[in-house]
């Protein structure tokens, strides 16, 4: 990601537009890109979603398999989230084990899902102390045009929402939907100069100093946050991010809910 150098002329153009409160793709500062998605696209997965957020494109797949519970939670299912920034998605992505960017992405998505209690892990017990369901959420970036955090969150949420626990395959009776309690929705903003813009695309991310991701639940309560980047944000910036996360989160819930 750090190898990218943007031309001065493009940078100036974007900054000049922002000075007038405008963006290169004519969105408002608080306007996310169009979301389109399709679920159940991968038959070999127990749940899947191919999602586009503007030109950012990703795939989330769910695998649900029996496993042994952790000793301190003998009746709870286990959630594991992974993300890979594969070379297909952008010329600066390299193959190999997940780097710090992929790890941060996976952990931020994971926190939203885990801390919102989206999946009722108590209902993923097969036999207490012996066997529980393990839910693996794996996210692959297919085309990177900025804001992988939200694209990954929405793809994972849609995939989980439509995932089926494969009871039949393991002789436990009929398949059942995953026990879903709410939808955690993240809204990510980039700070450019003194402006905060929602759902930054690649060019906007490239000239931003900081990133703020805020995840809310169905009630508009805050479930996860992550500030990223070397720049700082003010308390006023944070307040705006929190307001927008609630407002835009509502809009997005109507799209993917």
């Amino acid at each position: 990601m750090s190898d990218y150098i943007m031309s001065q002329i493009k940078r100036d153009h974007l900054l000049n537009l922002l000075a007038d409160g405008r963006r290169a793709d004519s969105r408002r500062l608080d306007e996310p890109r169009k979301i389109t998605f399709e679920t159940g696209v991968i038959e070999s997965a127990d749940g899947s979603c191919h999602l586009r957020l503007g030109d950012t494109e990703g795939m989330a797949g769910i695998k649900i398999i029996p496993g042994t519970p952790y000793m301190d939670a003998p009746a709870d299912g286990v959630i594991t989230t992974g993300a890979e920034l594969i070379p297909m998605a952008h010329p600066t992505f390299e193959s190999g084990p997940p780097d710090e960017n992929a790890i941060e992405l996976a952990r931020v998505v994971d926190r939203g899902i885990r801390e919102s209690g989206m999946i009722d892990v108590k209902k993923l017990c097969i036999k207490e102390g012996e066997q529980i369901w393990m839910v693996y959420i794996d996210i692959y970036a297919l085309n990177w045009d900025g804001n992988l955090f939200d694209a990954a969150n929405y793809a994972a949420v849609c995939a989980l929402k439509t995932a089926m626990v494969p009871n039949k395959q393991y002789g436990f009776g009929d398949d059942m939907p995953l026990p879903i309690t709410c939808l955690p929705i993240s809204v990510t903003e980039a700070k450019i100069g003194n402006d905060l813009i929602v759902d930054p695309n690649f060019d906007e991310e490239a000239i931003s100093s900081a990133r703020m991701t805020v995840t809310t639940d169905d009630n508009g309560n805050f479930r996860a946050m992550q500030k990223g980047g070397k720049g700082s944000i003010t308390r006023g910036d944070l307040s705006l991010c929190l307001d927008r996360a609630v407002e835009i989160g509502k809009q997005i819930r109507t799209i993917i809910g």
Binding site: I103, F222, G229, I233, L238
Partner: protein, 249 residues
């Protein structure tokens, strides 16, 4: 955060299990210049957390492909020692420590005058000797003191502290029990001279009012931590002055 317990974390009088009020942080001890080999170092305790930080550099950046011709890069390694938690921690980096190292590096890059040292690396090693909730804040607080102790030009120090929620009370500086069985954890790090936020995370469940209340407490507490950081550095330099005075005689 997701744990459940019958344990009372905050009693009816608003007192927590370690005897603190909701707006009270744990006792803090900060000492600068504790390691001989390192260019700068700091030992920090907050409650039962014990953290050691060493800074090397600016020095040649390795691996070389990470070099930035316009500025120094800050490479932080946050590491928990195997005996720092109740179960033995498997040695080596895990995903949690990679994420924390990244966030601390980014926060420090905000205050260090990296443009003064093109192509160089400033290496920050944070070792968690004993963990009791709040180690990323403790590590970052110690790291900025160690950087200052190394004489690296900075525009400010970075104090860090968490707020959160336990038993429906908004609390400052969560302890282990509150971290495990409480309802929210919000680590915060600021640049005190401007009150900019350079590290902020949250997990759990908080309303806007609770979050604002928690951040008010954490901002206030961060400024108190800042005073302790400055005091530790002043003590360190008064010791050097004394020592140098002695050899002159």
């Amino acid at each position: 955060m997701s744990g459940h317990t019958d344990m009372t974390l905050v009693n009816d009088e608003g007192i927590r299990i370690d005897g603190r009020r909701c707006d009270e942080k744990r006792p803090i001890k900060i000492e600068a210049g504790v390691l001989k080999n390192a260019d700068g170092s700091c030992y920090l305790e907050i409650g039962k957390n014990k953290v050691l930080c060493a800074v090397y550099g600016p020095r040649e950046c390795r691996p070389r492909h990470l070099q930035d011709p316009t500025k120094a890069i800050i490479q932080c390694k946050y590491n928990m020692e195997t005996y720092s938690v109740s179960d033995r921690k498997r040695p080596g980096t895990d995903r949690r420590s990679v994420e924390i190292s990244k966030l601390i590096s980014e926060a420090l890059s905000n205050v260090v005058q990296v443009e003064l040292f093109p192509r160089a690396s400033i290496d920050v090693y944070i070792e968690i000797l004993q963990a009791n909730a709040g180690t990323r804040c403790a590590g970052l607080t110690a790291a900025s003191v160690a950087l200052a102790d190394a004489g690296i030009p900075m525009r400010d120090l970075i104090p860090a502290i968490a707020c959160g929620k336990a038993d429906n009370h908004v609390v400052l500086d969560l302890n282990k029990e509150e971290d495990n069985f409480g309802q929210a954890d919000v680590p915060l790090a600021i640049v005190p001279s401007t009150d900019e936020i350079v590290l902020l995370q949250m997990d759990g469940n908080m309303t806007r009012e609770e979050l604002d209340h928690g951040l008010d407490m954490a901002f206030g507490a961060a400024h108190e931590v800042y005073d302790m950081q400055k005091a530790a550095l002043k003590k360190r330099y008064s010791e050097i002055e004394k020592k140098e005075g002695a050899t002159d005689e």
